[in-house]
């Protein structure tokens, strides 16, 4: 190993350390920005080191330079534009797109390596190459479908057909079986078949998954991308890629587990099950018992004379894009000396932590955003719990065995002294069961779109206290 190689390897290790440190600094909102900067520096150093390798080797052709620079500039421009213009509500789609291109690039590294290797002797590197290609291709097509579903371009309801599961298994078998065969006898044609099968598997894996399960799917695809990048690292023998890929794989894995637990579903159940209601609110008969519907004025009286209000935002708030309206109401209540905090369930929104970003965008200070375990003991002291577009995560039935959501972690909304629920209809959440909270005598229902309802309540409170 030459001195140059040594220096480059050490630089890569330094970059990888920056990634770890950057992620470590994200354990607190106050230091998170610095974490991102540290991580960015690591990345710039790693790219510079790679450029140094290319220049040092004198191996690249003029065409090679042109292709590389043109591609990178085009990609960087597209990435910069989408990152600057994306709406915070559309964050899950963008993250999905980045998963797609990351997985796609990793797959291409593998494809190129396989094709340029020719008659290779080492079968172990071929294993990692094929894993890279297969995982990368599955991530690419799967993430594109997920992004399409989130954007509403593709039907977000589970799309399935009889025998879908068999097709799925068949595609996976083709990709893996042929892949194994390719280790022994290289063939570009068969590699194409493997790629097509892997791409088709990505599509058929995500299509049957409903919109409500998207937080889990995005996390899982994120883990896939990380693994694909790590495999690409094995292929080109680059430690920075291996470490970065492993970090992302771990992150995606942890988030997948957290999301699945918070939704009371096993990962296998989500991938194989293919249910979940998606965006549509089913108009089904409400639970037995009296539902107490109220108007904006009644809600305003309860809110204006409370001393502690806990806001419980859910998927409905994100769907109605009402984060600014809820922040305006909260500001008004705070100006009257009322203690306001937000109870955020882990699966509120469309991806892990999505609700926090939406509320941060609406200028809600992050100390007001409380995680489930932190806020649950406080509900008993709250005068009003204002539930906006959240359903299953507030259903006390989860505490009893024998229901569809038994064992699911919920917010203890029912312990508040009074409860106001803003909801478009008595429709079910994705678990498809009645919410016992709605027939609780302490609960008042306000039937409206979240955005409209919050604006009405805010003006009603203003009129009341003027």
């Amino acid at each position: 190993m030459s001195t140059f190689d040594w220096v480059i390897q050490l630089i890569y290790v330094f970059s990888a350390s920056c990634f770890v440190l950057g992620l470590h600094l994200m354990n607190n909102p106050a230091s998170a920005r610095r974490g991102n900067q540290v991580s960015t520096s690591g990345m710039i150093i790693a790219v510079a080191a790679t450029l140094a390798i290319i220049i040092h080797g004198h191996l690249i052709s003029g065409t090679g330079w042109a292709v590389m620079i043109a591609g990178a500039l085009l990609g960087a421009g597209a990435g910069l534009y989408s990152a600057r213009t994306v709406q915070m509500t559309a964050m899950p789609q963008l993250v999905s797109m980045f998963n797609a291109v990351g997985g796609g690039a990793a797959a291409l590294v593998g494809v190129h390596d396989y094709m340029s290797a020719g008659a290779r002797v080492s079968s172990t590197t071929t294993v990692t190459t094929l894993l890279d290609v297969i995982i990368g291709a599955v991530t690419f097509s799967g993430s594109l479908i997920a992004a399409g579903k989130l954007q509403g371009v593709i039907n977000s309801a589970p799309v399935t057909f009889p025998g879908a599961r068999i097709v799925n298994i068949l595609l996976a078998a083709v990709a893996l079986g042929l892949g194994a065969y390719l280790i022994a006898s290289p063939s570009t044609v068969l590699l194409t078949v493997v790629i097509v099968a892997a791409l088709a598997f990505g599509v058929s894996m995500v299509m049957p998954i409903g919109g409500a399960d998207m937080p889990v799917v995005i996390s899982l695809l994120n883990a896939f991308t990380g693994t694909a990048v790590a495999m690409a690292g094995f292929v080109i023998g680059n430690w920075a890629l291996i470490i970065a890929g492993a970090l992302v794989g771990a992150s995606g894995g942890i988030l997948t587990k957290l999301m699945a637990d918070a939704m009371n579903r096993s990962i296998r159940n989500i991938i194989v099950g293919g249910f979940g209601t998606g965006d549509a609110v089913a108009a089904v008969a409400g639970p037995a018992g009296d539902v107490h519907a109220i108007a904006a004025d009644d809600a305003a009286i309860q809110l204006a004379y409370a001393s502690k209000v806990i806001i419980v935002p859910g998927y409905g708030l994100a769907a109605a894009q009402a984060q600014h309206e809820v922040a305006a109401l909260a500001d008004l209540l705070e100006s009257r000396g009322i203690e306001v905090s937000y109870a955020i369930h882990p699966v509120a929104g469309r991806m892990p932590g999505h609700m926090n970003v939406l509320l941060a965008e609406a200028n809600v200070p992050y100390p007001q955003l409380k995680e489930m375990d932190e806020i649950n003991p406080e509900f008993a002291r709250a005068d009003v719990a204002l539930v906006i577009g959240a359903n299953d995560v507030t259903n006390p039935a989860a505490r009893r065995p024998g229901t569809a959501i038994s064992g699911m972690p919920i917010l203890n909304v029912d312990q508040a002294k009074s409860i106001i629920v803003i909801k478009r209809s008595m429709g079910h959440g994705y678990a498809g069961i009645d919410n016992e909270l709605y027939v609780d005598p302490k609960t008042s229902m306000y039937f409206a779109d979240a955005k409209k309802a919050l604006a009405e309540m805010t003006s009603a409170v203003k009129t009341l206290v003027a």
Binding site: H24, Q37, I236, W239, A246, L247, P346, P365
Partner: protein
Amino acid sequence: MYPALLVDVTIFVLALWVGFEVISKVPATLHTPLMSAANSIHGIVLAGAMLIAVTANNAVGYVIAFIAAAFAAANVVGGYVVTGRMLKMFKRRPAVPPAGAAAPAVTAAANGSSQKGHNA
């Protein structure tokens, strides 16, 4: 038997454990920026994409190199920019505290109405 591969596998497994350890400490509040940050980190695949351009020697190779470079660059640049944009929004208190700003307004309104009462 393949000592280089063994080293790679060791690094991979240890990095996975480091990842689990570091990331399990990230609060749920930051999970979206975390995933976005992880996204930008896997943009390191750009290094791999750049190296394709070195060994490419035919049209197919150059097309692959071009697409890979574009994908990876979009990933890495977009990822870091959007993560930064999100993290900038997380504030302990907004620049103009709404409580402080709104409170005088309410008092003013109350004074106004009481004055009106006097006038009547």
